[in-house]
Amino acid sequence: MQQRSIPGTRQESPPASADSIPVVPLRHPVRVAIAVILILVAFSAAWDVAVNERYRWDVVVSFLFAPQILAGAGLTVLLTVVSMTVGIALGTVLAIMRLSANPILSTISRGYIWFFRGTPLLVQLIFWYNIAALYPVIAFGLPFGGPSLVLGSANVLISPLAAALLGLSLNEAAYMAEIIRGGIGSVDKGQYDASRALGMNGGQLMRRVILPQAMRVVLPPTGNQVISMLKGTALVSVLAISDLLYSAQIIYATNYQTIPLLIVASLWYLLMTTILSFFQTKLERRYGRGFDASPRRTRQPKTHPKTRTA
């Protein structure tokens, strides 16, 4: 990172030339006092947690890398990755439909978003889990009793995992659609004119010009979505899927070490969200190129003395 002065905090001391008047920086005694107190409080709290035997840190450590926990964490990652991927892809389609001049497409998209945002995720998950009650057999075919291709029994096809993936992905798509729609709306209208004047068709315009610029606005809320998805997957434990939380629950159901195992699960969730935040920052920087207020050293390392300002 470059060193950058943040407004309102201490500036780097100005270059002291021989004839300049000496500058005494402003002191902040109250700020220092508060900082000292807070640091003391934090240390004593941490110390307390460390020495309190009822936390059973020995149990935490012994289960931290237990195979069941690792498998659960893996499944949580899988659920998150698949649901977010499908959610973002479907959400993009829904956002473009919503903004389409075709009233049928935009109404369908609107209806979808209304339904999937308007009902609780937990209800949707249980609904997909019980879909066999409504549709015992799944088949593709023509409506009104035309010929159809029977795929199989819903009970077999919609396993708990499939129900979880369906529920999470379809729900996520509704939220992502609104986020992406906002991002698309944030792009300057002149960009459409310029792209069209250069002969681009609608698809090229979206892929090459509008969506890459929308990314800048879409990324921060999407990062939020990924992180809440990661934790939201814990909901699938109601479908008896052994994700991270459910694996921890199974273990403490037999050894009664509830708190230590919840700590184990929390540590893994924290680790995963930390990794995600790291990638979010990287992506934001990638798509922020060309937009930052201060010209960044981009790809040209040479001969631009002017770009070093700020």
Partner: protein, 254 residues
């Protein structure tokens, strides 16, 4: 066979119930420079956008390079063009906008190379070499790897001109290219446009720069309230305007 690059016959355009163009007749000869002048709201920009299919013509005929804009004529009927056809016929003209509209997420070179590579499907290496030559031509040969936001308005507009030229258009449209610029940056953009005119490019320029109109253009068209009030050689229209509305406008801006 007509020789005109742009030929308008009774072109009309409305937005909702407001009629912006009320029957425009205009001819732009190949290799000539036409300046559209007039008060704001007179329909100059709308007409320019019609030439490039950015607005649909409601009535009348508009031919660009002998092709009817926006419609195909078959068996005495006009069929609205499909999007792909429209996109293809836009390639005749290059357009430069008041607010530059460079792609902010691409470097200068990427901006220029984008459409030749992805719309025309030409090889990137070949196009990049041409783009570099165009950058040299507009005097910005060393800024290829900058992002638009790092450049001044005048530089951005020169890049926008280079970007339009990279598509090798037969006609260049300029929509108030210097109106968003600081006064001291206007000259550099007008210089590029002048050299383009000298090279024989057909140009239609919506502008408030009457000095440029007088010096460079072959034809000045004064528009007001959706009609062409007066057109002709710059010396006539700007020097001894016949129409009252032209006189009133010129007395205000001069």
């Amino acid at each position: 066979m007509s020789t005109a690059m742009v030929e308008a016959e009774g072109v009309r355009k409305s937005f909702g119930s407001t009629e912006i163009l009320k029957g425009i007749d205009l001819r732009v000869e190949r290799g000539s420079v036409t300046c559209l002048i007039g008060p704001s709201g007179s329909g100059k920009t709308t007409f320019l956008r019609c030439i490039n299919h950015l607005e649909k013509v409601d009535a009348g005929r508009l031919y660009v390079d002998e092709q009817l804009v926006g419609y195909t004529e078959r068996n005495g009927r006009l069929y609205e063009m499909k999007e792909r056809q429209t996109a293809r016929s836009r390639l005749t003209a290059g357009m430069v906008f008041q607010r530059f509209n460079l792609f902010p997420h691409m470097t200068v070179l990427e901006n220029i190379v984008e459409a030749p590579v992805h719309v025309l499907g030409r090889p990137r290496s070949e196009v990049t070499a041409e783009a570099q030559a165009l950058l040299d031509r507009v005097g910005l040969g060393n800024r290829g790897h900058s992002y638009p936001q790092e450049l001044s308005g005048g530089q951005q507009q020169r890049i926008a001109i280079a970007r339009a030229l990279a598509m090798k258009p037969k006609l260049m449209l300029f929509d108030e290219p210097t109106s968003a610029l600081d006064p001291e940056l206007v000259g550099e953009v007008l210089d590029v446009m002048k050299s383009l005119a000298e090279a024989g490019m057909t140009m239609v320029v919506v502008t408030h720069e009457l000095g440029f109109a007088r010096q460079v253009s072959d034809q000045v068209v004064f528009m007001d309230q959706g009609v062409v009030v007066e057109s002709g050689a710059p010396a006539d229209v700007l020097g001894s305007p016949q129409h009252e509305r032209t006189q009133a406008f010129l007395s205000k801006v001069l």
